[in-house]
């Protein structure tokens, strides 16, 4: 990846606009590529299996044309869009897919994906929704089942040593991405929200070492940038599940705001918490994905009181709002999403209690609604100005 030195953002642009192109190349060289859905998929294990983990994304500007023949329209619009993309052949180069049990929209359509795509390798990772000790133990068991199926598929054992190496590699990847995030704390960030979105998307389409190299070169490039004049633009944070396109970010930054932070499932949720390197690596992995990763589908009601539960669920959001001096939060939730949808009133009042304003948008995974979304965002910015 030497060609990257100095022109990281150019490479990012390439991998963002031609998503998965690098994985395709490596596939041609004989590497195995495993697609995965959701931030719940333990990429460490895929890496340890010698395969390339490729995050499945949708295509917001494409209409869903083929999925509806097999999948109800009451299913999460993001899931439908990705499935549609797969039916259209956009993921034909994959050797297999892992669908973690994030929500009903994935759990209840697991059969539909498997039946219609029928890839050489398929696994539904039955992640629990609860985070107590029995759940951690259960999580380890199902991770071992997952490891077993990968070993069967690749024909080679996944040793604890290779898992530990993978854990370290992905922790390093997370560390680098956090370093890039830190560059957005400045009054005038050196990297725009649009650039950041492209980095996040590009990074999830590469083998971990290449991903780290790319982030590294982006950091180098961004460092050398001329610091822009400290413009008094409102600082925005976006919260949601998988937003993997710049369209919405362009709507925000195009209206004269700066997107300085996110709590998205391809962003901060992926990179904030490391896996503890434990003697039994599976234990560390289970703990990271079940407890450290903050998703509305892992029900952390560890606390005895409602306040404690709130802290466990949303505490990290307040931290980000303070660290990144956030003025306004865009809460972008997909229609038909029970896990996020039921959180909205509590999350909204929690965020407002930090002094930040909230714009709640319930929308499709589609640019078709962009004109209306833009008006809301502009009005929101006029309001908090």
């Amino acid at each position: 990846m030497t060609e990257q030195q100095g022109n990281g953002l150019a490479t990012v642009e390439k991998y963002y606009s031609q998503y998965g192109s690098r994985a395709k190349e490596l596939k041609a060289e004989g590497r195995k590529v495993i697609g995965y859905l959701s931030a719940l998929a333990p990429v460490e294990i895929i890496t340890a299996a010698g395969a390339i983990p490729l995050r499945l994304k949708g295509y917001v500007s494409e209409a869903i044309t083929r999925a509806d023949a097999h999948m109800e329209t009451i299913v999460c619009p993001f899931v439908r869009n990705v499935f549609d993309a797969a039916l259209k052949g956009k993921y034909d180069f994959l050797d297999g897919m892992v669908l973690p049990h994030q929500c009903d929209s994935i759990d209840r359509t697991n059969d539909v994906w498997n039946y219609n795509l029928n890839l050489p390798y398929w696994h539904f990772l039955n992640v629990p929704h609860v985070t107590d000790d029995p759940s951690i133990e259960f999580m380890q068991s199902i991770l071992r089942i997952f490891i077993g199926t990968l070993e069967k598929f690749t024909g080679s054992r996944i040793t604890d040593e290779s898992l530990i190496q993978a854990v370290k590699a992905h922790n390093e990847n997370r560390r680098l991405m956090r370093e890039l995030y830190d560059m957005r704390k400045a009054g005038a960030p050196l990297i725009s929200g649009i650039e950041m979105m492209k980095v996040l998307v590009a990074a999830m389409s590469l083998p971990v070492e290449e991903s780290s190299a790319l982030i590294g070169s982006v950091i180098e490039e961004v460092k050398t940038k001329e610091a822009p004049a400290d413009a008094k633009m409102p600082r925005i944070m976006i919260i949601g599940d998988q937003i993997d396109d710049t369209a919405i970010v362009e709507a925000i930054e195009g209206a004269g705001a700066q997107l300085v932070m996110d709590d998205l499932s391809i962003g901060n949720k992926m990179y904030w918490a490391d896996v503890d390197v434990t003697p039994d690596p599976v234990y560390g992995i289970a703990g990271r994905y079940l407890r450290k990763l903050k998703l509305p589908t892992t029900c952390a009601n560890s606390g005895d009181t409602y306040q404690e539960n709130l802290e466990a669920r949303f505490g990290h959001i307040r931290q980000h709002i303070m660290d990144f001096k956030v003025d306004g939060v865009v809460l972008f939730i997909y229609k038909y999403c029970d896990p996020y949808g039921f959180d909205v009133p509590a999350m909204k009042s929690f965020i407002e209690s930090t002094g930040a304003s909230v714009l709640y948008l319930e929308d499709e995974y589609s640019t078709s609604t962009l004109p209306r979304v833009k008006t809301r965002i502009e009005a929101f910015l006029e309001m908090i100005a």
Binding site: K335, E362, P371, T375
Partner: protein, 261 residues
């Protein structure tokens, strides 16, 4: 620079925003008997605000409705704007927007809903109000989807339900949608209604029943946003005059703009 409204023009929108923008502007200038260059500043708002090339600034209809309405009805705390494409609720705090809501990706509770139904019943849009207040009993319209509500209306009509009752039923249905939208703002009086929907007495009555108190309606509801835009422009000019800075104006004159259409 005074506060008086010198001239106003209302024209139907449509696909060719740009040409229509020029047309209404020309008419407004004519009726005020001034020329484009006499204007100190031009602010565009509304769904097609980006298609007003000669505007110096674009501001959303939310902010403009707030400003405009505050100047017309200073006691209003909550604004309900029932437009063609969407309905909005705006919470006012001393004339500034403190929060707002817009209807989701569904035409239920918007002016389009009324247009579609008026079409289906063969009743002119502006007549809906007067007809519906003659209804003895509002028909039950269970579908919120515009298209299926239309089907529901036609079938009830076929089963002999009266046009007046159906229109009243439709107003009831829209009032329900709008009310639950506005409820997200924690409604506080006075409530003012603007936009095309405000011209529909039947809909106003239905909403008043939901709110439980009478609502305010400006003399020309359709103008509220434009008036607000003018006020925004005036404020910008005054701020500039105060700080002595030169206003950045759009390069596009009115004449060049017409080439776009």
């Amino acid at each position: 620079m005074g506060d008086t409204l010198v001239s106003s023009v209302i024209g139907p929108s449509g696909p060719e925003h740009r040409r229509l923008a020029n047309k209404v502007m020309e008419e407004a200038l004519a009726s005020a008997s001034i020329v484009f260059d006499d204007l100190a500043y031009v602010v565009a708002t509304g769904y097609g605000r980006i298609n007003v090339p000669f505007a110096d600034k674009q501001v959303t209809e939310i902010t403009c409705h707030a400003k405009g309405l505050y100047s017309l009805l200073p006691t209003a705390k909550t604004i309900v704007d029932i437009g063609g494409q969407d309905s909005k609720g705006i919470k006012l705090n001393e004339g500034k927007v403190s929060s707002f809501v817009m209807n989701d990706k569904c035409a239920a509770g918007t002016g389009r809903f009324l247009e579609v139904i008026a079409d289906a019943l063969g009743v002119p849009l502006e007549k809906l109000g007067d007809i519906s207040i003659k209804a003895e009993k509002a028909a039950i319209i269970s579908n919120t989807c515009t298209v299926f509500a239309e089907q529901e209306v036609t079938s009830q009509l076929a089963n002999g339900e009266s046009v007046a009752n159906l229109i009243a039923g439709i107003h009831e249905a829209i009032a329900v949608r709008i009310y639950s939208l506005i409820s997200k703002l924690k409604i506080s009086p006075d409530v003012a209604i603007t936009g095309g929907g405000a011209k529909n007495i039947g809909l106003i009555r239905a909403l008043e029943i939901k709110f439980g108190f009478p609502v305010l309606v400006p003399p020309e509801p359709l103008l509220t946003g434009a008036i607000g835009a003018a006020i925004v422009g005036k404020e910008i000019c005054e701020r500039a005059a105060g700080s002595g800075e030169i206003l950045k104006r759009s390069a596009q004159g009115l004449q060049e703009a017409t080439f776009f259409s």
